[in-house]
Symmetry: C2
Subunit: 368 residues, 2 copies
C-alpha cells in the first residue's frame, strides 16, 4: 500500500470539524491497558471536562465507546422498551432516527412532526404531551440536519409535568453551545466528540440526572444492548473497575485534550466566540445575497448555518468547486432537503474572524 496521505481539508461542514493540533499530538502518546490506573485518571479528567461543557454537577457523566449515534441508541435502549410510550419531537433527520431506534427497542412511538426549520413551542408541546401521556420524551437540542435550535424547556417543562423522563440529543451543541442540562430539565443528554469538541469521531459523552439514574437502577430486566448497558458501564468506570469492554484508550487521550482546550479557553468564552462568529457569518453571507434557512434568528444553531441553495445554482458542483479550489468542505442537505440547503459549520479552531472572511469570499466565488 502507498503511504497514507490525506488531502488537507478545511472542515466547514456539519461535522466532523477541524481537529486541534494538540488533539492530534495526544494521539501519538503511548497507550496503556484499559484497566491501568493511568487510564482511569484520564477518564476522570474527561468527566471533569464534560461536566463543564454539559453545564452540570450530575454524578453520572460517562462516555460510550461509539459515535454520537451509539450514544443516541444507549439513551434509547436503557430507558425505552416494550410496554412504554416514547414521544419524539421531529423537526429533522436526527429526531427521526431517535423515533426509529425507539421502535427497534420495542416502544410505542408517537411523533410530533414540525415543519423543517422550525422548533416546538411550549404550547404545542404541552398539548401534545398531555394528549399522549408518554413515559419518555425525546428531542434534538441542535438539529444538525436543519440548523434549528430547540429551547429545551419548551419540551421538558410539560414533559416533567406528566412525569415523563426527557432525552436530549446534544450532538451538535456539546462544547460550542450552552446546554446546562439540569436547568434545561434534561434527564438524559448525549453528545459526540467531532463537532464542538474538535476531536475525531469515535466517542459519545452521556450524562444522566439523578432521576434518570434512579430509573436505571430500578430496571430489573437488563438493557437490550449489552455493549451500551449503562449499568455495566458504571461498574467498569467507577468503583471496582469491573471489566466491561476494552476502552479506546487513544480516543480518550484525544477527548481529554479537546476538553482541556475548551476549559483553558473558558467554556463561556468559547460559547461567546461561536456566537460572534455565527453572527458575523450571517451578516456577511446575507450581505452577499444568500438567505438563511431558519428564519427566526433566535432559533438558529450558532455552530451550523443552514443556507438556501440560491435559484439556478448547482449545489453539488458548487461544493466540489470549494473543495477543489480551496480544500473547503461544506455540507449539503439530507433527504427532503437534499440539494435545497448548504450546511456550513463554524466550530472550534475554524471559528475565527479570518476564517469567516476567507470562507465567505470562497463561497461567493464558488457557489454559482
Amino acid at each position: 500500500m502507498s503511504n497514507l496521505n490525506p488531502p488537507r481539508r478545511l472542515l466547514f461542514g456539519p461535522g466532523p470539524s477541524q481537529v486541534a493540533p494538540r488533539v492530534y499530538e495526544a494521539m501519538t502518546k503511548s497507550i496503556v491497558g484499559h484497566l491501568d490506573p493511568f487510564f482511569f485518571e484520564v477518564y476522570e479528567d474527561v468527566r471533569t471536562g464534560l461536566r463543564a461543557v454539559f453545564g452540570t454537577q450530575n454524578s453520572f457523566v460517562q462516555v460510550i465507546s461509539g459515535t454520537g449515534s451509539a450514544g443516541m441508541e444507549a439513551s434509547v435502549a436503557n430507558f425505552v422498551g416494550p410496554g412504554q410510550k416514547l414521544a419524539v419531537f421531529v423537526g429533522g433527520f436526527f429526531a427521526g432516527r431517535i423515533a426509529e431506534m425507539g421502535e427497534r427497542h420495542g416502544a410505542t412511538v408517537v411523533r410530533f412532526d414540525m415543519p423543517l426549520g422550525e422548533a416546538a413551542t411550549e404550547t404545542q408541546a404541552t398539548e401534545f404531551l398531555n394528549r399522549e401521556r408518554p413515559d419518555v420524551v425525546a428531542f434534538v437540542h441542535a438539529e444538525t440536519s436543519t440548523g434549528v435550535l430547540q429551547d429545551p424547556l419548551a419540551i421538558t417543562r410539560p414533559a416533567h409535568a406528566i412525569g415523563a423522563l426527557t432525552i436530549s440529543d446534544c450532538v451538535t451543541s456539546i462544547g460550542a453551545l450552552p446546554i446546562n442540562v439540569n436547568a434545561a430539565g434534561i434527564d438524559v443528554a448525549f453528545g459526540c466528540t467531532q463537532k464542538g469538541l474538535s476531536c475525531p469521531p469515535g466517542l459519545s459523552p452521556i450524562t444522566l440526572s439523578d432521576a434518570a439514574v434512579e430509573h436505571l437502577r430500578a430496571r430489573t430486566k437488563p438493557s437490550s444492548v449489552w455493549y451500551m448497558d449503562l449499568k455495566l458501564l458504571l461498574e467498569y468506570y467507577e468503583g471496582a473497575h469491573r471489566y466491561h469492554h476494552t476502552a479506546p484508550i487513544t480516543s480518550f487521550y484525544a477527548l481529554r485534550e479537546g476538553l482541556a482546550l475548551v476549559c483553558e479557553e473558558g467554556v463561556q468564552n468559547r460559547f461567546d466566540r461561536h456566537v460572534r462568529m455565527h453572527q458575523e457569518f450571517v451578516r456577511r453571507i446575507e450581505a452577499a445575497g444568500f438567505r438563511m434557512f431558519v428564519t427566526d434568528p433566535a432559533r438558529r444553531i450558532t455552530t451550523i448555518n443552514a443556507i438556501h441553495v440560491p435559484d439556478g445554482v448547482d449545489p453539488v458542483k458548487s461544493r466540489k468547486a470549494l473543495v477543489d479550489k480551496y480544500g473547503i468542505d461544506i455540507g449539503g442537505g439530507y433527504a427532503s432537503l437534499a440539494n435545497k440547503i448548504f450546511r456550513v459549520g463554524l466550530m472550534g479552531p475554524l471559528a475565527t474572524m479570518e476564517n469567516v472572511d476567507m470562507l465567505v469570499d470562497a463561497m461567493v466565488e464558488c457557489i454559482q
Copy 2:
C-alpha cells in the same frame, strides 16, 4: 489540566498490545469528512488488508465502529433473535458473553460448557448439536481468558450438517493466527484492532460468508440494534454511501497502517513469527519452573500464554513489581481464574526474540 503524560508500558498482557510507531504516526494525519471520497479509499484499503488476515475472499468484509465487543454484539444482533435457538460452546469468559448477548436479543440459548483450559472435540460438538438442533452456533476461536485455541472445524462441520449458521469470535486470533474463515466453515467472524493488528482499540472488523449475507438479506424485521445494523452499514460503505453514522476517521487511518504493516511483513511470515516466539517463550518459561495452563500444546493460542500462578506467589504483588520495575504489563485471570493464572501476550512489535529474553528474565525476577 496538566499535560497528558502517559507512563511507558510494555504491553505484554492479553491486549491492548503494543502499537506500532507507524500507526501512531497515522493518527496525526488530517481527518477528512465521513463522506469524503478519500475516506472511502482508506476504507477499501482496510477491506483489502482484512481479507488477507481473515484469509478470505468474502465479498462482505466490513468494520463496526466500536470495540471487539461491539463486533460480537453485531454478530449476535443481526443473526439471532426471538424464536431462534443459539448454541454456544463455552470454555471461558468471552464465550459466556456471547451467550449473555444471545439472551438479551431474545434467543433461546443453550450452552455446551467445557472445563476451563480445554476445547470442544468434533465428537462432543456433533452429539450436542444433533441433540439441540440450534439455528445458530457460536464459539470463540482463541479464548482470551484461558489461552485455548478451538479447532473451528470440530464445531462448524457438525453445525453445517444440521443447517446452522456459525459465528466465531476471532478477537484474539485476527492478525496473528491463521483464521481462513471459509476453509474453517465460519459464516460470521469478528475481530478487534488492539491485539494481533497492533492498533489502538476502537474498531471491530467483521466478515460474512455468502450464506450469512443471504440470511441478512432475507431478514424482514430490522436488526434489534440500529447502530450495529449490518444492512445499513452496507448502504453506507458500499454503493451509494448512504449516511449511517460518522465513522471514526482517525481509527480507520490507524487500522489501515496496522494492516499495511502486516501485509508488508507477509501474513504467513507474521503468523510464523508469532508461533516461533510463543514456542521460545514456552520453552524458557517452563525451564524456569512455570507451568502452562493449557496442557495440550496444540490447543494453545500462540499470542496469549496462560501460566499457572506458582504456589505461594502473590499474583497481584508480582504484576505490580513487573510494572514498577520494568513497565511490563502482564494480565491476570478473570472470574474463577482470578489469582490463579497470569496471561502473557506476545504480539506484534513485542513478539521478538530480544523481548522474550527480557520478559522471561523480568518474570523470573518479579514473580515471587
